[in-house]
Every structure is written in C-alpha cells, then in structure tokens.
Amino acid sequence: MSIDREKLLDIYTRTMKVARFDEKMRSLLMSGKLATIYYTMRGQELVTSAMMAALNQDDYLVTTYRGQHDQIAKGVPLDLLIAEIAGRATGTCKGKGGSMHITHPATGVMVTTGVVGSGLPIANGLALSSQNKKDGKVTVTCFGDGATNIGAFHEAMNMAQLYKLPVIFFCQNNHYGEHTAFADHTKVDSIVTRAAAYGMKGVKVDGNDAVAMYAAAKEAVDRARAGDGPTLIEAMCYRMMGHFFGADFSYMPPEHIEEMKAEDPLPKLNALMLEHQFPQAELDAIVAGLEAELEAAVEFAFASAYPDADEIRKDVFEEEIAA
C-alpha cells in the first residue's frame, strides 16, 4: 500500500492541528482559564485526519461529544471552534451549543450529538437527501465502539443498506465506552462483523497506520460517491486518557496502557513522514505555523464577548419568542 506525498502531508497537517489544539485545551483547562466539559481525543488524532482527508469540504459530517478532532480535521476554523467551547457569542453556535454540539455547515459539520448513537440515523437522512438530489455528497458519521450496542446503530445500518445510501459509518474503536472495556460490553470479537448482519461492506483497519487508514477511507468514499452504498469502517485506536478531561482511568490494566503507548499515533506518524523523506525541519515549520494559528484563535476566543441573555428567546423557533 502506498500513498502520495501530498496526501500524506495533508494528513500530517490535520493530525498535528488536532494534536496542538488538544494540548492547548488541556492546558487551558488545567490552568483554570477554561472551565467546561471536554472530551480529549488524545490518541485518536490520526485516525480521523486520514478519514477526513478523503472527503471534500462540502461532504457532510455527523459526530459526537468526542468530536473536536473530527471537526478540526474536517476544517472547522479553530477560532470559531474555541470561541464556541469557551461559550462566546462569536463561536460557531453563538455559545449555545458548546463542545458537545458543534455545528458548522460551511465545512459540512451538520450535527454533533451528545447522545450515544443518535448521529447514525441522522447521517442516513443527510445521505438520503444527497441521493435524491444527486448532489454527489458523501456523509460520514463518527461514533465509538460503545455506540454499536444501542438500537439506533442497528436501525441505521439496516436502513442505510436497504436504500444503498452514500454514508460511511466510521467507528473509532478506542477499546472503551466510558469505563467499560470492549470485551465487557460486546461479545463479538470485532464490530466489523456486524456489517454482515445488514449485508453491508465492513472494513477493519489499524487507524494509527496512516496509509492503511487513508486507503480504507478513500475506498469507502469512492464507493459511496459511485452509488455503491454504505461501508462500516472499524478503525482501531486508543483513548489515551480518561473518558473526559480530568476523569480517572485507573481502571485500564497496565498491559493496555503499555500497548497504547506503543501505538501512540503521533510519534508513529512522525516516523512515517521521515520515512517518506520529509525533512524534520519542514515538519517543525508546519507545526510552528499551526501553533501561531492556534494562539491567534485562543486570543480571539478569549477577547470575544459572551452572548446576550436575550439569545434564550432566539433560535427556539424561526420566529423569536416574546419577552
């Protein structure tokens, strides 16, 4: 399997943007400058970057509370994203959504849900609209391993295959649903085996292998765009911290911690870049550029005003609620 250098660099840039963002968020939370619920994606930076690199800007994305990596990799601007997380009026959603409900149609981010599994049926609807309108768009919906045990997953998989919808079910299997390990919530070895139950194509891939992950993503996107129907991708990865920022994860056995450290996508990707003859200096320059963008975004967010209280009456319905 090979990958062209330009695409690899694209994936690297997206991955590092996510990584720098996440580190910054954690430091803001740690220092008390930011106080909000934040689901760190440490360990899942690459898996989603390779997926999103296979999409166009106007393709649709539906993701979850643990979705800031998906949103950034899809293209949501950092300044609007951070302002939203910080509850500012300049945020993507005027501070009304927060990290669990990021929406940014300009980059195709149509829904971020805090309810496990609920994005999948909605993704079908976006894909159904593309099928009817023949607009050529593909919809990706991200979710975790734990989400594959909720009814919505099964209903959505069946309907997607029945209608041959241009949708990709992108499961980031990070081995845990909150505190519960995969083997303690599911009795099949792999989520991907469930695709067969719906007559759907399923692919299991090492999400921390940029080349393999991109190939799987690209194939699924091409199939969907060609009208050949949905794919379930099970991308193996690790959640390298607690369920949300600050949460305890002492329940993870030491062997698991060792394994995930060895599979950390960031050093792995850096090594791959060097293997592909990208000089470290060039990579460092990219990261420095991302740092500058990030600093400016944080500054923008914290300099922004909070929303007006009368926002409570707006956007409930199209017409404003009377005071």
Partner: protein, 344 residues
C-alpha cells in the same frame, strides 16, 4: 375567498365537493410534493406495494412521485425519525409517518434531543423543517398501547409545534402549513375523524399555524378544545343553546404554541372557561391553558377554569371501560354548569 363569494351571490349555487379527512391529507401532501421536490414521506407501508399506508393517507403518491420520495421503511422508528431530521437539515421537507402515536415513544430521542433543539444548539445555523404525522384516538377498542394522546409530552419541549385538525378542511390547510413550516411540527390525526367530511376548501388551501378557530360563537362560557372533542363540544353547545346558554367553542388547531390572544379575548368576554382534551387530564395541556387564564384574567373570571380530560389510567379495551375513561358530553355539560352556577 369571501370576496369572491359576495361577488357571486347571484350566480347559481355550484354543489361544493365534499372530502374526507384522509382525502384532505392526501391532497395536501400531493400538492406539496408537486410544488416542492424536497417534500418526501417516510413511513411503514406507505408506498404502492404496501397499499399506500395503513390508513391510506399516502395512497397513489408513490405511483406519482416515485419510491425515492415516498419511502416505505423498515419497522425502525428511530431510523425513520433520524432520517427525516437529517434530510431536513439538508434542506428537504420530510414527513415522517409514525403509524400510531404510541410508537412515537421509541423515537423520542430524535424528536426531543435533536429535531426540537438543533436550531437552537446550532445558534440558528441549521433548522429542521419536518412534519411528524401520527394518528391515535380513544373509542375503537385498541387498548393501552394504541390510543394515547401524548401532545403534552411534546408541548413541554421548546422547539416543537403541535397541530391537530378537527375537520377535513383544517386537515388540508394545516398539513400544507405544517409542511411549509421551517421548524418541526407534530401533526396528530385522530382515527375516529378520518372519515369526517367537509366542503373541499380547494387547491393550495392553508390554515396558518398558531391560529385558533372560533368553531361557534357564544357569550356565557368559552369551551377550549381541539381534535375529536370539538365535535362533542359543538353538540353540547347546540343542546345548551335550547336552554338559553350561549357557549363559545374554540378549536385550538395548533396545540402548541397555542393562540393565546384568541383564547384570552374570548374568556375575557365570557368570564367563564372550560378546557377539554382527550388526553389524560392530569398534567395535560389543559392545565397549562387554565393556569395561564388564571394568571391573566383572575379578576375577570366569574368561576375557576374547569378542566376535563381522560381518566388517570391506561386506556382500557372493554367498551364500557373505554367509554368511562373518555371525557363525555355529560361531563362537558356538568363542567359548563359548574362555571355558570359558581358562587363567590
């Protein structure tokens, strides 16, 4: 329309076509689909192969518009609801047909957490112009899981509109408006009303959302209701008119957000009010309306607002029990008399 009517008073009376509620709904959806490619319908058994729906509301539509627009679905209410939410986000105007209102409960997450809230949570960047059509009704012996009126559950959720027609003309006009609404609308049909006939209001007829109808004018007491119970109320009003009691009947048509100005003005005029619904009385929408009337008209009221609704049990099957459960004309009459006889 009324202008035309006065102009044509000398013309011979053309016999107006009558349509049933089912025909009215079918016609409204048909017209909306012809006018807008984005209007689609998803539901169980809705296409031609399945006979055009259990209650035949979508009869003939898949033949006309194709199975990509009239989509027969698996028995997957969450998937139906979610697909409609997603399609609506992408700018379509989907209609989710949920066979019976009790089955809406298995899709609550999509309605309450998503359809209702996405406009707000996205800061107005997205909206969900979908209609959730469903039917229900007490009186046909379907028992506890096929008869409930659950409008109060949805009325409690900011972001949802709830509509129910009591006649065929309103069914047509409200359906067109619901489809054109840029927010999610729950459209409650009543099984017992499907065969009711009205004069055909004609093509492209619309009844605005949020506007109640004065179904009968009166001056002594205001009866506020919606859906099938409008019929019972009109009968009671007719009977009481014989005794010299003048009952004003308001058919809300939109249950939430309801037409408070019309309701308040009427009760200010009559000084007495009874709120009636088929749904369980306790914690029902009647409680909200009564409470608002007490808040706004406390000094004008000649009696406390009376509430009538279903009994506090599951809807029973046996006909005698079902009839005991459901609000009846005697209860309506008694509630009206209570307001008339009230002594401070």
């Amino acid at each position: 329309m009324s202008d035309t009517a006065t102009l044509e008073t000398t013309a011979p009376q053309a016999k107006v076509k009558q349509i049933t509620v089912v025909q009215a709904l079918n016609a409204a959806i048909d017209e909306a689909m012809a006018a807008d490619e984005g209007v689609i319908l998803l539901g169980e058994d809705v296409a031609a192969k399945q006979g055009g729906g259990v209650f035949k509301v979508s009869s003939g539509l898949s033949e006309k518009y194709g199975e990509h627009r009239i989509r027969a679905t698996p028995i997957s209410e969450q998937a139906i609801m979610g697909a409609c939410v997603g399609a609506a986000l992408a700018g379509m105007r989907p209609i989710a047909e949920i066979m019976l209102m009790n089955f809406v409960t298995v899709a609550m997450d999509q309605i309450v957490n998503h359809a209702a809230k996405l406009r707000f949570m996205s800061g107005g960047q997205t909206n969900v112009p979908m209609v959730i059509r469903t039917t229900t009704g007490v009186g046909v012996g379907f028992g506890g899981q096929h008869s409930d009126m659950l409008e109060a559950w949805f009325a409690h959720v900011p972001g949802l509109k709830i509509v129910t027609p009591s006649n065929a003309a309103d069914a047509k006009g409200l359906m067109r408006s619901a489809i054109e609404c840029n927010d999610p609308v729950i459209f409650i049909e009543n099984i017992l009303c499907y065969g009711l006939k009205s004069d055909d209001p004609g093509a492209d007829y619309r009844v605005p959302l949020g506007k109640a109808a004065i179904a009968r004018e009166g001056s002594d007491v205001t009866l506020i209701t919606y859906g099938r119970t409008v019929l019972d109320t009109l009968e009671v009003a007719e009977t009481l008119a014989g005794e010299g009691v003048s009952v004003e009947v308001i058919d809300l048509r939109t249950i939430a957000p309801y037409d408070e100005p019309t309701v308040t003005a009427s009760v200010r005029k009559t000084g007495r009010a009874v709120v009636l619904h088929e749904a369980v009385r306790s914690y029902g929408t009647g409680a909200e309306i009564a409470s608002r009337l007490h808040e706004s008209l406390f000094n004008d009221l000649k009696a406390p607002v009376q509430r009538i609704g279903g009994a506090f049990s599951a809807v029973p099957m046996a006909s005698v029990l079902e009839q005991a459960w459901i609000p009846n004309k005697d209860e309506i009459t008694a509630a009206i008399r209570t307001t008339l006889d009230w002594k401070r």
